[in-house]
Symmetry: C2
């Protein structure tokens, strides 16, 4: 079978750290071009824009690693050119534009893959399988990290559309929506927003499902020291699941069943190759829908100003 | 054909002003019970809760006129009891919970109808038909009313989930999503929020579609004097449509083609009867999705405090 000829748009940190090595390690797909204002990749054709790349190199697929605010236009351009499209998370700046992309991919019959990298963590699928068929009574998401460590000087994450603490929080929601056996929905929440910023620095959310699940999520970007990316769940048959380190480690009823190094992006590209071969798409907007619900239903609480340089405060 | 036996939950202003007279005027459906904490309706069984009503009277369908914050639980209870369900707008406090209701109605095979009353205004369907097949280049929504006149003393509309100026604005969005020939999506916006309130008092939104539509929406709750509920659209073939008075009046290329009194709720109940007979559902979340997108992507601007009593300011 011939390899999928891939062009990648947006050669930034996530592309260099994750996409490029994962593409290189995945059978059935090969990088043949990049489009980026800032950089290229060794040994492949380099363009300044998606349009130039589509005109200059024969491609089967395009991976978009650009910020969500400009993703729709590029995705539509690639889909209408008949290319399969892989989207970094989140798949767009709005829910409505993603609907439009799903329609466009349906029209041209190509694959659209909205990736959620945390769903490809080692523990997610084993956790989903263990919870399947069980009734979850209580669950807790605690996702706390230091924004200065992970997003130094990135002002755009505080702007409208940048999502603030939901940028990491959506990773937790992408796992929870995958592993919990019933769909859940927000009943209320609080979004702590620094008075000099647009996006929340912390959020406390309460969800339920049709069985009366008690699910809470505690997102905080002010965590010093050890970082916390934990999901716990208690089932009606007395079981207890603890997924930690963002999905690398899974403990069930006190026993460690998964502990693994990160292979998320390799699995993402393997899944993409499979989707293309099987003429399928994979677009689940539910993590972003929960974020939109939280912005719509959550109470805004003003907190102290955030300055990237702690000493400027 | 026997009439649909309907129970109505939430006998408030909208139920008395619109639902009860429209049900009485519609063939194929009859009111047999109400459930409400505050009031009943003449000549039918009256209960204090949905549960008591379901236990006490044989029903085929339930209409929910309660606030959106408590709608999901009641809708699920009715759907799981095998009743057809009609939802006042908006269909829920979150997008995610509506998905759950769609799944529940699918399981029991009953009709779920998420109403958008402005879609049943006299001008909406003629406007949709005229725009069908045309390319809209520019469109403008101007929806300006006096909150003190329409929502006197209703503090809940300013609370999280109350949606603020999007409570009327979603009516405009329900028309626009129906009449514009292509799906559109938000590119940016500003939400003016009084510093003593949670919900916006005004919003300016910009949308586009895959053809580069320039659509703006201007929602304002501070309008004195004449109230404005207008949508205009200019097409690439030089046509111009002007829908005004919230959908009662339609002018195309300078000629008045529709001017009509309000029959929205009668048409809603006729549509409900048809849906039930044809075993269909009608749930379009796109108006609420645009609102959620606006809360997620819009810039929050703080404005002066809002007091219901103007002299208190």
């Amino acid at each position: 079978m011939t390899s999928i000829r891939l062009g990648l748009v947006g050669v930034g940190k996530i592309a260099r750290d994750q996409h490029l090595p994962s593409i290189a390690a995945t059978a059935g797909i090969e990088l043949v071009a990049t489009a980026s204002r800032s950089a290229g990749a060794d040994g492949v054709a380099s363009y300044r824009s998606l349009g130039e790349m589509l005109a200059g190199t024969e491609l089967d697929a395009v991976a978009l690693c650009t910020p969500p605010q400009v993703r729709h236009g590029m995705a539509l351009e690639a889909l209408e050119a008949g290319k399969h499209v892989l989207l970094e998370k989140p798949p767009g700046a709005t829910l409505s534009e993603i609907d439009d992309l799903v329609a466009a991919s349906g029209k041209t019959g190509v694959t659209l893959f909205a990736t959620w990298h945390s769903r490809f963590s080692a523990a997610t699928e084993p956790a989903r399988r263990w919870l399947e068929g069980r009734t979850v009574e209580r669950a807790e998401i605690v996702w706390k990290e230091d924004v200065r460590r992970w997003h130094p000087g990135q002002d755009w994450i505080w702007e409208p559309g940048g999502l603030g603490v939901f940028d990491p929080g959506i990773n937790a929601l992408s796992i929870a929506t995958r592993i919990l056996p019933e769909p859940f929905f927000l009943t209320g929440g609080e979004l702590d927003t620094p008075e000099n910023r647009q996006a929340p620095i912390a959020a406390r959310l309460a969800f339920t499902d049709r069985n009366g699940l008690d699910l809470t999520a505690d997102f905080d970007w002010r965590q010093k020291g050890p970082q916390t990316w934990d999901i716990t769940a208690e089932t009606s048959d007395g079981g207890r699941l603890h997924l930690s380190e963002g999905g690398k480690r899974l403990v069930i009823d006190g026993e460690t069943v998964v502990t693994s190094e990160d292979a998320e992006y390799r699995d993402i590209y393997e899944h993409f190759v499979r989707l293309v071969r099987e003429h399928r798409s994979d677009v689940d907007v539910s993590p972003l829908r929960h974020v939109a619900d939280a912005f719509m239903l959550g109470r805004r609480c003003r907190t102290e100003p955030f300055h990237d340089d702690e000493n400027a405060a």
